[in-house]
Structure formats: C-alpha cells, structure tokens
Amino acid sequence: MASPEYLRVERLPHVWCPGCGHGMITHALACAMTELELDPRHTAVIGGIGCSGRAAFLFNMDTMHTTHGRAVVFATGLKLVRPNLTIVLTLGDGDAIGIGGNHFIHACRRNVDLTAIIYNNSIYGQTGGQVAPTTPVHKKSTTSPYGNLEHPFDIARLAIAAGATYVARTTSFDFPDMIKYMKRGIAHKGFAVIEVLTHCPTYYGRLNDLRDPYEMLHTIKEQTVPIEEWAQLTEEERADKIVIGELHCQERPEFVESYYELIAQMRGT
C-alpha cells in the first residue's frame, strides 16, 4: 500500500491516458517509498520531459520537472550539494537514452547515488507516437509507418555496460517486483537503474494491433523470461525474449561520497 503522505493526492487523477501503464509504475514507486519509510522532507523526485516526467508533479516532496533528457544532470548537481537527499528520477525511454543518452551513460559511469526509474513504453507517447530508440525492429509508429528499420537499445544492458552499479528490469505487469527492485535500487549506494517495460495502448498499441491495454500488458509479460531461467535457454529460444529480474549489483565507490572525502582531505578534517 502506498501511503498518501507521499503523493499530492489533490493532483489526482493523473494526466495519463486510460489504460496507460505509467500510473502503475508511479503507484509502485509510492509503495516502495512507503515501505522504505522515506522521509518526504528529505526525498526528491526529478522527472524529465515526456509522459514519464509528469510523475514528478504527483509526489508530495521536493520535485523538479526538468528539460528533456537532462533530469539526471540536474539531479547530479542537486545531490552533490545536498548529499542527504534521497533522489529518484522518473524518466522515459526516449528521455533517458534518446535525447539524454549521453548524460545517462555518464551518470552510470560516475556512479552518483541516484535511482533512475525508466518507464519504457518503446515509443514517444506525449508527442504522438513517434519511433523511439527502444522501438523494436519492424514495429510501427507515426514516424516509422512502414515498420522500424533501426535496431533498438537494450536499456538495462546499456546501463550495465556503462557502469551502473544496480540494474534491474521488470514489467508493469509484475507489481510486487517493481516495488522490490525500486526499494533495492533506492537503498543501493550508487547509480541504480530500474527499467520497467510498459504499455502504451494509445499509440504503440493502436499502431501495432495491440489496442486492448490488458492484451498489450500481457503480451509484454509473455515476452519476458526471469533471469533464473535465462541461462537454460538456447540462443534460438532467447530471440525475441527479454530477460527480467535483478540483472546486476556491484559495490563501487559512490561519487558524492568520494568527493566529500576529497573535501575533508583538502580541508584537513
């Protein structure tokens, strides 16, 4: 259960389309905050631009709706000045690894103690259903009307390769898992990425014969394979499947802590 303490309930209902998965992810985040008993006065949510960025308006704490793709760097500046703030990012796929791809990989590398929740619906929703760097090959969008010719990014694998120290992937179907990984990501000291595969019935679904929200959610779920079973699959069986679960967890010096150690050293304290 999410405590209403964490939400600006007066701003509900939210702006997302009927059947959209973003409300479920946002709900899971509020549940994770509740279960972690975070102090809302020392927690901040920073969103980018796009449908996902709108989540920032809903949390009853310090919140920032930034520019497109840059939420992670706004948060980096904030965290360095306010190391005691717990900062969660609500990013979309286009936001995080399209326009913000450069910032994203450097945030992974830098390992600042932030938690990025990536609402991955494989499309640009807010602007009307354009192709995203996460849109699967051959899938349609308003700007790939004959099917996408580009190869998509695998966000979780990108995050691991770039140096993120906690990476998990799940779907908006797996509500308890979303909460579990969000809690672990927030508790993790370092840059944590929780990619949530979700559905956009309004655009992705309508353009790809998956109009029904539940059917679409179910289709996403069926594509996934838990990491525990992944190893047993042959290369052939893995094609068109997506591995989910806790994919990566590593201890590495956290950047803000390292910087404050440097300050202490320089000041001889």
């Binding site: 009853n60 920032m64 840059r70 760097v73 980096t76 500046g77 965290k79 000045v81 300050i263």
Partner: protein, 388 residues
C-alpha cells in the same frame, strides 16, 4: 595590505566566484575559458565546494541549476559553441527564477570560428539566445581586476533577483595577465540568497525569496508556464507570471546599469564601448582630447537590460556617436534605437583588437571638420582594419 600580483583574467573570474560564495561549478573544457574550471577544480574542494567536469555544456548548466536549487551559489563557464549548447537550460533558469552565473569568454564565431581569437560576437545571443521572452542580466568587463569585481557582482545580482546572470568576457581578457591588487575579504559586498521566514503559506514563485530543496518546503519546479506555487498554468495566469519575471529585471534597467562616463558634459562626439574594446577607447579618447576634440566616453558594464535612459542622456548633445565593437554590429543596434541616426559602428572580425588609432582616426574623420553622417554608413567595415 595585499601585494600586487600577476593574475590572469580567467583566474580573476574563478577567484571572484569563490569570493562571492560560489560553491558549485560544472563545466566542459573549451578555449578560451578552461582555466576557470582548472582553477576551481584545484581550489573549490579546499573551501568545501564542488567542481565537476561534465560530459558537455548542456550537462554543465543543468547541473548548475540543480545545485542552485540545492541552495548553493553556482556557476559555469564556457565559450561560443558551449554557450550555444547551454541556451535551452538558460531559459529554464530564467523561467524557474534560478540564480546562477554563466561566464562566456567570447571567441571568434560562428561555429568553431577562431577559438583562440578575440570577439564580441555573443552580445545578442546573451540577450536572446534562448527561446521565448525571458529575463536576463548581462555584464561585461575590460580589466582583470574588473573581471573579479564583475564576477562578484554577477553573483550578487543573480542571488538578489533570482535570475541567471551572464558575464561576457572575451579571449584576450580571459588570457591576459595583469598586475593587480585584488579585493580583500569584506571589501566588496556579497549578497546572500533571501529565504522565506516561514514555510507556511509561502508561494515559491511569487517573489525573490527562494525555498530550496531539502528544506521541507515540498517545492515544485517546472520549466512549464506555472502559477505561484509552481504547478502548470495556462492563459492569463501564465501571462501574469511571465510578466512578473520580465518586469522585475526590465523595470530595474537604470539601477542595474553599471558604467563609467568620461568627459561627457561637453562632448560633441561620444564613444560608447564595452568589454576589451574599452581599453582601446580609453587611449583613443586621450589622444583625441589632446588634439582638442570634445570627445566623451561611455563605458558600459551592464549590457542587458540595455540602459536606455543612461545612453539617451549621455548622447543628448552629441552630434556623433561611435560604437566600436568586435563584431558585425550588435550593441550598436540598441544604441541606434535609442539615439537615432547619429550613430556609427566600427567593427572588426579578424580576431584582433580595434586599435586606439583606428578609433581616433574614425572620430577625427567624422568630426574635424564635422561631416554629415549617413545612417547606413559605418556598417560592414569589419575585417578591413589593419592588423597591428
């Protein structure tokens, strides 16, 4: 008393920032501003501050805005190409009334241009670079000690009015080393950010007091048009907020105007200059006065908001106004708008300074004897100046 020391312009800027209380810097290497970041990377940790080298200039200004909302006085420094990249977030800072300082050490442009050569080509970009009507303050400097003072001043104005302040330096001043005595602690005023006395009922976007993150205020910050509480607003509410943030700077144009005036009382001809070009003008005015010409000089430190009333009053009796600047004609447009057809531009695009001789010669040609000046004359002579 402090000793005289040999200080580079970029170093003076960095030291001025620390003096002003800057405790966060984020930047990306670019000629001719890199020494600012190099100095701060060494010195900021010693005073408890943070200096970050980011992945690009977009990240730099964005991190600065994040840090400012964390409560720190924050700055970034760059040059032309990086300044272009920063424009979107400069607009975000203006829209969200975020105090921050952006230093642009101007180099020859457009594009990569002449990275190691001087220019004053970013005057209009500093004012209008980001989209939409927005408030901004733009300062400049001509001497190394002045770079220090203007950096402090940039922070003071930014914190006082909750507005991004751009400090326009240039390649020569950034790299110039001069013998200076820099201000002692306490010598210059340092303005601190005003905080609301109580959280209850405080509207974070209604005045120049600022409630930062981590202070229990549950602040909402967005670059969307917003109401006094920071939540999205449209129509009349959006217009009212925008008018408030525009007016708070525009209505103070005269009080924000920093300048030096010389020999203006009896001037038949007035030279209006700013930044590095003012150094040549100072010598030119000396030469012209020695020749018996009644030449006055207005040296502007505040470029935006443009000090209209000041420029109008200083040029009232002048029959000739010359605006030398290292570009194809930028601030001269504002001067023309205010003064009218008596204005001529003297420009240069080859990456060298306008010399005192060039300026003095131009004034002599026009004023001795006083020849009529066509309004269209004067533009387009950039790059033809002799290289000395």
């Amino acid at each position: 008393m402090r000793e005289q020391e040999l200080v580079q312009g970029n170093e003076a800027c960095a030291r001025g920032a620390i003096y002003a209380g800057c405790r966060f810097f984020a930047g990306y290497p670019i000629t001719p501003s890199s020494e600012i970041m190099e100095y701060l990377a060494r010195e900021l940790p010693k005073v408890g501050g943070v200096c970050l080298q980011m992945e690009d200039e977009i990240a730099s200004i964005s991190a600065v805005i994040g840090a400012s909302w964390g409560g720190a006085k924050a700055m970034t420094a760059t040059s032309g190409p990086g300044f272009s990249l920063m424009q979107e977030s400069i607009g975000y800072a203006a829209m969200t009334e975020t105090p921050c300082v952006i230093v642009d050490a101007q180099r020859g442009g457009p594009s990569t241009g002449q990275p190691t050569k001087v220019s004053q080509g970013d005057v209009m970009q500093a004012r209008w670079g980001t989209h939409g009507d927005h408030p901004i303050i733009v300062l400049t400097a001509s001497w190394v000690r002045e770079v220090f003072e203007m950096t402090v001043h940039a922070f003071n104005l930014s914190e006082k009015y909750r507005v991004p302040v751009i400090l326009l330096l240039d390649e020569i001043l950034a790299h110039l080393r001069e013998n200076v005595i820099l201000p002692e602690p306490g010598e210059l005023e340092v303005v601190e950010r005003r905080r609301p006395e109580r959280l209850e009922g405080f509207k974070p976007f209604s005045n120049e007091m600022m409630l930062c993150f981590g202070e229990g205020g549950r602040v909402m910050v967005t670059g969307m048009s917003h109401d006094e509480l920071g939540f999205p607003a449209q129509g009349k509410k959006a217009a009212e907020q925008l008018q408030r943030i525009l007016t708070k700077i525009e209505s103070r144009a005269e009080e924000l105007a920093l300048y030096r005036g010389r020999f203006l009382d009896d001037a038949d001809a007035v030279i209006i200059s700013y930044g590095i070009t003012s150094r040549a003008v100072e010598e030119a005015v000396r030469l012209l006065r020695a020749d018996g010409l009644a030449v006055g000089w207005l040296d502007l430190k505040t470029l935006w908001p443009f000090p209209e009333r000041l420029v109008r009053s200083c040029t009232e009796r002048a029959q000739y106004v010359l605006v030398p600047e290292l570009n194809w004609g930028q601030l001269v447009r504002e001067v023309e708008r205010v003064v009218g057809g008596r204005v001529e531009h003297l420009g240069r695009l080859d990456g060298y300074l306008i010399t005192p001789d060039e300026i003095a010669r131009r004034v002599q040609e026009r004023c001795n004897p006083l020849t009529p000046l066509l309004p269209s004359q004067g533009r387009g002579d950039g790059g033809e100046g002799e290289t000395v």
